[in-house]
């Protein structure tokens, strides 16, 4: 099982962790054409390398039969593929129209101030990155903040500051939307029902078939 055949389609990522190799195989098997796996593989490469490195793009190219340049053209198009290491916690503040109308700029300013990290930057200790993002579909619960893409709705500047302190002091292994909503959120777009059982470990969407996910509390 550990012996690699020359025809092993996963040969280019022999160094990857076993779970990520398994996820990569799932992605390659999910489409009629291999090149369609580029997007999930780029997320996996981020998990493996921290960001989309040159090496990662070559690996994805080798897996999908594309050139590294073609993979770069994809990686550079989508904002969620980071070309530098994001912090352990990526805080994304929505500042599009509905969030803007309800004070998102003040939330962003409070988070920037509390973390000492400018919009679009990563703190020196690598713990937190802050970015403003375009609409994230939480308009009914504006303003919206995401931590590693897990959503909190109805955030105020004060709650935004408290969230930053909570991340910095507690350094949670997994961030759960339900827990953060309870601690730092307010009005929601709709009744969430029961809280989610999975959360995010890294700044990659927590979607198990080809992303990180933590088992729930």
């Amino acid at each position: 099982m550990t012996t690699r055949q020359p025809s092993d389609p996963l040969a280019p990522i022999a160094e990857w962790s076993e779970p990520n190799r398994r996820r990569a195989r799932t992605a390659l098997d999910a489409y009629p054409e291999r090149r369609s796996a580029v997007m999930p593989l780029l997320f996996l490469a981020m998990m493996e390398h921290g960001h989309v490195t040159d090496e990662a793009m070559q690996e994805v190219a080798d897996l999908t039969g594309l050139t590294a340049a073609q993979v770069l053209s994809v990686a550079s198009f989508y904002t969620m593929y980071k070309r530098e290491d994001p912090g352990r916690y990526l805080i994304s503040v929505c500042t599009s129209i509905s969030c803007h109308l309800l004070g998102a700029d003040e939330v962003l300013a409070a988070i920037v101030d509390e973390t000492g990290t400018a919009d679009g930057e990563t703190a020196e200790d690598g713990l937190i990155s802050v970015e403003h993002v375009e609409c994230n579909g939480g308009c009914g619960g504006a303003p919206v903040v995401l931590v590693n893409y897990e959503m909190i709705e109805g955030v105020t500047p004060e709650k935004g500051r408290a969230l930053c302190r909570w991340l910095r002091d507690g350094r949670p292994e997994v961030v759960f939307a339900g827990e953060m909503q309870q601690l730092f959120g307010g009005r929601r777009s709709f009744d969430w029902g029961i809280v989610d059982e999975e959360g995010a470990i890294v700044p990659v969407p927590a979607f198990e078939p080809y992303g990180s996910s933590g088992e729930g509390s």
């Binding site: 129209i97 579909g137 969407p205």
Partner: protein, 430 residues
């Protein structure tokens, strides 16, 4: 007023804690439409019910779904792609449908695939919706385990694979041909049409792209009949529809309503009006792309065609409300900035024009506007969207560029005095 029938949100309203589970779904009639469709009906009959329902696509373009299906040539393979890339600012309805009732969507996908004789369907969900993706994937996995997806479904010989695909942060992928490029592992750049996806779509094969909400209606339509669905609401705006209310409104949220009520009823009766007793200034009727409406339109009906007559669109059903304190210039800039950021860059009028609009609005807002900026804004807008008409005259491959023009034209049309005051006095006071 009798309570409107709930089609899409009945289960999640009655069972808020577990509406997403297969146990709850089956206990409340779930997958009965699948049995009826696959065991008692031919694919043509299922398609005929969708055509008879008169349902118009809920993604934003409002194109009749049955007519779209009719464009498929007889060749195979063909694909079904579900558009769950909901990204139009103000819109959060598909998120609720995917998180709260994912089996309803999955059953709709299976029925559509059966009707269209498709053996591989893809559900494209935006990357910022990992919870939606988890819920939909869990529903798909469960459906595989029950034999509703996979080989020889319910012993009928019909095979279907479903792949859940995650986007990575690009609004433009909600445009159906950009979505197909993205699904093929390419940059999410819209394709020149024709050929339309029905003829040449995913992997250049015939492909139908339908929105999450559109397909979530299919179980009801198959179970109750298309004619029954068509009876709900105005003739050309049939069925119930999810509206996302946001902004300065007392009770924001998604509301499943029958179209045809007035804007006054939607904003004041359903949405609870404007907070803190403030006055309504303006609202966007169908997502950030749509031209704005003002209080004189409050008593016009909320239907696809009536809204089109006002020179705007119902779009994705996202209603963004702004009260009297709103700086409309700042609001317009925020929307223009969105489109400038999300422009894929293929077409010059959009790539350059959106950036110019952003810069001019930005300097006016910063108190550095010039009197000539009023003409400049309209001139640049006209370069993107000739004649400033709605629906726009297209100079670009997709409607993203003209969408950026909507807020600019809207403030120039309804609030020109405020823009002028911003330029001459540096404050938004008429």
């Amino acid at each position: 007023m009798t309570a409107p029938p709930l089609i899409l949100t009945e289960r999640m309203t009655a069972h808020p804690s577990d509406s997403h589970t297969i146990e709850r779904y089956e206990a409340t009639g779930g997958y009965a439409a699948l049995r009826k469709g696959l065991e008692d009906m031919t694919p043509e009959q299922v398609a005929a019910e969708v055509k008879a329902s008169n349902i118009r696509g809920r993604g934003g373009a409002n194109f009749p779904a049955g007519v779209k299906w009719g464009f498929l040539p007889p060749t195979k393979p063909r694909y079904l792609v579900v558009n769950g890339d909901e990204s139009e600012p103000g819109t959060f309805k598909d998120r609720q449908l995917m998180e709260r009732d994912p089996h309803q969507l999955v059953e709709g996908v299976i029925l559509a695939a059966y009707a269209l004789e498709v053996n591989h369907a893809f559900i494209y969900i935006r990357g910022e919706y990992p919870k939606s993706a988890r819920r939909v994937q869990a529903a798909v996995d469960e459906a595989y385990r029950r034999g509703y997806v996979g080989k020889d479904i319910l012993g009928t010989g019909f095979d279907l694979e479903i792949t859940v695909h995650l986007g990575a942060g690009a609004y433009i992928c909600g445009e159906e041909t950009a979505l197909l490029n993205s699904l093929e592992g390419r940059r999410g750049e819209p394709r020149i049409k024709p050929p339309f996806p029905a003829v040449e779509g995913l992997y250049a094969k015939p492909t139908i792209v339908n929105n999450v909400e559109t397909l979530s209606n299919l179980p009801w339509i198959v179970l109750n009949g298309g004619v029954e669905y068509a009876r709900i609401g105005p003739e050309t705006s049939a069925g119930t529809r999810l509206f996302s209310l946001s902004g300065h409104i007392e009770r924001p949220g998604n509301y499943e309503i029958v179209m045809g009520m007035s804007w006054r009823e939607l904003i004041y009766d359903i949405g609870g009006g404007i907070p803190a007793g403030r006055a309504l200034k303006t609202w966007i009727p169908g997502g950030a792309s749509a031209p704005w409406l003002v209080p004189e339109h409050l008593d016009t009906p909320v239907t696809i065609d009536d809204v089109a007559q006002q020179g705007t669109m119902l779009g994705s059903g996202a209603v963004i409300v702004m009260d009297e304190t709103t700086n409309v210039l700042a609001a317009a800039l925020r929307i223009v900035r969105f489109f400038a950021h999300e422009s894929c860059g293929q077409c010059t009028p959009c790539r350059e024009g959106t950036t110019w609009l952003e810069r001019v609005l930005d300097r006016i807002l910063a108190g550095e506007g010039r009197p000539s900026d009023l003409d400049l804004l309209l001139d640049v807008s006209d370069g993107i969207s000739p004649g400033l008409r709605w629906p726009p005259v297209m100079t670009t491959i997709c409607p993203l560029g003209p969408s950026a023009v909507s807020p600019v034209v809207s403030i120039m049309q309804h609030f020109r005095d405020e823009v002028e005051a911003m330029i001459t006095k540096g404050v938004p006071v008429a």
